[in-house]
Assembly symmetry: C2
């Protein structure tokens, strides 16, 4: 049964009956792509613009459901801190970030297998800034960076802006980035950095098994290539525990770990962080050179929220809900889409990767969905080499019964598109 | 009398009796420096660290007096918006910034002689980010940038981080950057950008006369070199009106105008802005690639504050106070410091540039001041070519009678140091 994809074993949780349909083997390739410059066409910019359109139900963009964020708690805390300590809230904060917040981030990292002091943490404006500062420390325009394939389109937009070239490493829905392909890439090309979302990958939902994380860290260290780890979704686990980060296996500061609270607490606070390892001083300088420091009040709010211990409880509740929504959406897609559709089976986060039958044009589906008032994320945006044209990413954070008609409509569109 | 420096004419304001001592002719040079890489020694980093030390009275760092900021108003507004609209306050904002805020910024720019639409404005995390994004669009590491001399040390730190070289243009306390020297620099070196604080220069306090601004804009346009204008202090005018920006004379989008609310409303909100002219799309992309968007709530707070029209009243009150403090501090310095000391006569902002008698070691004075519980900014930090070792910048924002003993002590120290 397990091999047929109808049930699955989850570590320490027994067997689960699955919706019909096997796990997606989206990519069977084990070879890296050839290096290429990143040049986005208008589609990705349109997707990023549509992601902010309040008139479109966000079934594509990876935005959390506001109802699963502790907004009222954060709001009250914000008012309270602004009242108790307006002078501090309105003045420049330390460029590397509020010390109390850095201490909370360091404490939380213990659970992910990582021991760092608050002085090794730099607070940033979201995870994206952590990655941007890191990449700018590691590369010059024209340099080559190894990325997962498919890869979050926001990264590709950053890489294009920074004038970087990519080499795409096939990424599997179960185990993540293909290490054999990466090894081949590192041995044949002057790669300056490897970027990966190893826990609950966006868009695949995969979690790289711990043993493979260790091998990845060793491989990068041996080759002298920095590993930039994006752990944005690491806290939203469908399993009993928070997974370890690759940084846990780092011995020489070669892994740069980036994260944020945008997916779990509030995107608009723009609070992320970076543990830059051997790049610490350079990332610190670059943060100050870029915008002196992050806004003060959001840092104070998060430091207090984390110190009071409500975050774990909140995460358990939100993760349970996202798991249910993800399972529900997966079953619905397999029911509503044409036969031959394959859907990833995430272990965390809240995105689903859907492979539609060959020949389906996801861009066409995207246009039609927008006309019907909702957005999806077409697969072509997740690569700079014209891959994944029959794939889409769906945002399971919004997967409540009220979106069922949209998903069913999507299924009908896809059937139409194929005729 | 005017020539002797004992009285001065102020446009539309009659004559003012001055404290003894002439205006500082800090620089008599009219030639640009030779191009050189920016390499800060530990001193500048220490100054920047000390600027955030709550145990030191900030008589050097250019921080506004919290008592002259409308903190209570901002605080109430923050609570109110977070209560009325928590969902919007906590979600991602448009990468280019909240539309209502961009509209208010465009409206305000009319007063400074500049007509732009909200779509031509990009909101940033402070003025520093506006400058950083602009410089990153204009230059590659190793490129040459023309800067004022003396120049705000925070810029130098950014330029060092970005791997840029500078050519220093002598800047005069009355008229600002020497255009003849700039012309020579542009005709003999491959300069990629000119950066200037033209209104109420930091640290000189000078305001470049309108006719010179026009010539500067024309010169840069003729040479095809971008002019990056920092108008951070432009709203704090000691004269009747807000001065025009150089951008007002721009015909082809070659001037990139940057500003913020950090000096007039609250540094910790980290809200600045950029009117990037011909770089608009590139700055927009780079903003998104750097940190997706700025924090949402601070933008909502400022948009509302500006829309309600209290800003002009607040500015008049704060500017009047800063003018009094600047005049008072100037007179006190001339009284307390050794004879031969020269002090700038700012027309806006809140910093004073003090030239002590030749041979005085400002770094030594800086160390001694720190031991006494207050900070000053030594002149050597304002250049990357070992100039201004006998100069200091003072922060007049904190110049109330309670700091008189510190300034008198400073005078004694300087006399000691010279012995």
């Amino acid at each position: 049964l397990e091999n047929s994809g109808l049930i699955e074993a989850r570590p320490q949780s027994g067997y689960y009956v699955l919706a019909r349909g096997p796990v997606v083997p989206t990519s069977r390739a084990v070879e890296p792509s050839t290096p290429q410059p990143v040049t986005l066409d208008g589609v990705t910019r349109r997707i990023m613009r549509d992601a902010r359109d309040p008139h479109l139900v966000p079934l594509g963009p990876a935005v959390p459901d506001p109802e699963l964020l502790p907004l009222e708690n954060l709001r009250r805390r914000m008012s309270s801190i602004a009242r108790r300590n307006p002078e501090r809230a309105m003045r420049y904060e330390d460029p590397v970030g509020l010390r109390e917040l850095r201490a909370e981030i360091a404490r939380r990292l213990i659970t992910a297998g990582c021991a760092v002091t608050p002085d090794e943490v730099v607070v940033t404006n979201g995870c994206n800034e952590a990655l941007a500062l890191t990449l700018q420390c590691l590369t010059q325009p024209g340099d080559l960076v190894a990325v997962e394939s498919p890869m979050y389109y926001g990264f590709l937009a950053s890489l294009e802006t920074f004038g970087l070239r990519t080499i795409e490493i096939p990424t599997l829905p179960e185990s993540g980035m293909c290490l054999e392909a990466l090894e081949l890439a590192l041995s044949t090309h002057p790669v300056k950095a490897v970027i990966g979302i190893l826990n609950f990958n966006n868009p695949m939902g995969s979690r790289m098994p711990e043993e493979r994380k260790r091998r990845l860290v060793e491989l990068c260290a041996q080759r002298g290539v920095a590993l930039v780890e994006d752990n944005l979704y690491g806290d939203i686990s469908f399993e009993k525990r928070i997974p370890e980060v690759a940084k846990a296996f780092d011995r020489d500061g070669n892994v740069i770990l980036c994260g944020s609270f945008s997916k779990t607490l509030a995107p608009g606070l723009r609070v992320g962080w970076c543990v830059p390892g051997r790049l610490l001083e350079r990332v610190q300088s670059r943060k100050m050179a870029t915008n002196i420091s992050s806004a003060t009040l959001p840092q104070m709010v998060l430091a207090e929220f984390l110190a009071e211990g409500g975050y774990d409880h909140h995460l358990r509740r939100a993760s349970r809900e996202y798991r249910q929504r993800t399972d529900w959406l997966r079953a619905l897609v397999l029911d509503a889409f044409p036969s031959g559709t394959r859907v990833s089976r995430p272990l965390g986060g809240f995105v689903l990767w859907v492979e539609m039958p060959p020949g389906t044009d996801a861009l066409d589906v995207y246009d039609k969905a927008a006309q019907c008032g909702f957005s999806i994320a077409p697969g072509c945006a997740f690569s700079s080499s014209n891959k994944f044209s029959n794939c889409i990413r769906l945002n399971a954070a919004y997967a409540t019964p009220k979106v069922e008609p949209m998903i069913r409509k999507l299924g009908m569109m896809i059937k139409d598109v194929r005729i």
